[in-house]
Symmetry: C2
Subunit: 258 residues, 2 copies
DNA sequence: CCGGCATATTGATCAGAATCAATAAAAATC
DNA sequence: GATTTTTATTGATTCTGATCAATATGCCGG
């Protein structure tokens, strides 16, 4: 009864599907399949490690609520956060492809995850290649994101970096409906931000103060309010990411499979 | 005549296939398919841009010979190289998924590429999901690599960064048979290296000198010779990358497809 | 409401790396 | 082979951002 499937699928809207819809046409049937892949829903509390560097992780977990950070701690005790994960992002995409994760992932807030096993997902990929391509797309997207971060840390000044980070995070949150046009909740400490941007906490704090003094934003109650987003974008050399579209042939699944 | 196919396929060994073989079983038939995807072979001369930031690029190009750099130039004139590409790497993997490339790619040396169209590749993915998964794997691998670079630039000291970069490049070159156990050709200028590591040229030079003085390596004739690779690894906190294995179900294509 | 702990803010000092500048060496071009 | 251009090396100076340190603020559980 395809009507039933559709109804269920349509009602099932998660940040992950919201994000997917921006670049690939998932049919109600696809969505139902995706949904069936979810083995369980996990609740994680703040500060708990989801993935531990050096240990196996063989799940794909879709973030439904909350934020997390992928990071590595060096022997000298310094920590570098490689990526801040938000609703709609996948935990375990890089890790699961190796026998041992190369990075840890920690919950920055309480979280809700939808968990599926990597094996199950890959099995589906054989029946629905579109899923495998979606996986590629996610990985590519993540890679781009990382590249942008390299540019940030390598060649932008601390204040540009900070501005860029905030704008970029805002943009990503917007896509999954977790931000207002000029404001968003930022439930993370300055220590986390400094470890993300490769700065010391005091210096990050100063840069934040400067942005405030320049009247570009207001930070209060773990919430960022852009007061001059234009100026901020100029400062950060920010260009809102061209959202990837799926290459033409990827839309042709029907003819090829049917 | 499957025998013929196999012979051709076996004879067709490129850095790309060498690399793939490390993580996925491509049958002779797969290899033949892959080979048929190649539209033409391109020869590029040093310093030419392969991909230009802001313009479309809809190819997947497998590097057969030579090296390239993915980079971005900021408005202040600074350049950050995001990735050094070597034989076996793919040009256009991130770029092709967007309507416009977000980074430029420049040839650091004369190069030879095998070029296929993204559309053709994706079409094949529908018939052979293994190809799509291989694509994911490449993207994931690249992402990991980028993450590692973020840690480098964000939290490692310049000398550690340099050491890490050299070891990592050496490791990658080894995989595709382009390096000796303790030495490799490094046909790139110090300017390129400094833009990769987020350092100034003079400072990079000083760090290089220091590694030489510490008797960890010798640089001559655009060739690096490790004289104390152990010490170098300790300095860089280097752990030779666990090569990813393909998740179990990915090996089961035969039963699923046949 | 009270410690106690995490987080934020501010200041002072100092080291490391950028910048500026000059020269040397090597490679490419004619 | 001479000349130009690129690349490498070294030095002197400046300045950014880390580090150390102190204080403030907020937050939680009891």
């Amino acid at each position: 009864m395809p009507g039933t499937v559709r109804k269920i699928a349509e009602r099932w809207e998660t940040p992950f599907t919201t994000r997917l819809k921006h670049f690939v046409d998932f049919t109600p049937d696809d969505l139902a399949t995706l949904r069936r892949l979810i083995e369980y829903e996990a609740t994680i509390e703040k500060r708990r490690d989801l993935v531990v560097d050096g240990y196996p992780y063989t799940k794909l977990s879709f973030i439904k609520e909350g934020m997390a950070a992928r990071y590595k701690v060096l022997r000298n005790g310094k920590r570098q956060i490689v990526d801040v994960l938000i609703p709609g992002d996948v935990v375990g995409l890089p890790g699961s492809f190796h026998d041992r994760a190369a990075f840890s992932v920690i919950a920055l807030t309480d979280m809700k995850l939808e968990v599926c096993s990597l094996d199950a997902f890959i099995n589906v990929c054989y029946r629905r290649p579109k899923f495998a391509l979606a996986l590629s797309w996610l990985a590519v997207e993540h890679g781009n994101h990382s590249s942008e971060r390299i540019v940030d840390i390598g060649r932008r000044t601390p204040i540009e970096r900070l501005a860029h980070f905030l704008l970029e995070l805002h943009g990503r949150l917007r896509i999954v409906g977790r931000a207002d046009p000029t404001a968003f909740d930022l439930p993370i400490s300055q220590e986390v931000m400094s470890d993300t941007l490769g700065l010391s906490v005091p210096h990050l704090n100063r840069m934040l103060t400067r942005l405030r003094n320049e009247r570009m934003l207001i930070v209060a109650d773990r919430r960022v309010q852009f007061t001059d987003i234009k100026a901020l974008e100029v400062l950060a050399h920010f260009q809102s990411a061209t959202l990837a579209r799926i290459p033409a042939p990827m839309q042709r699944e029907q003819e090829l499979i049917a």
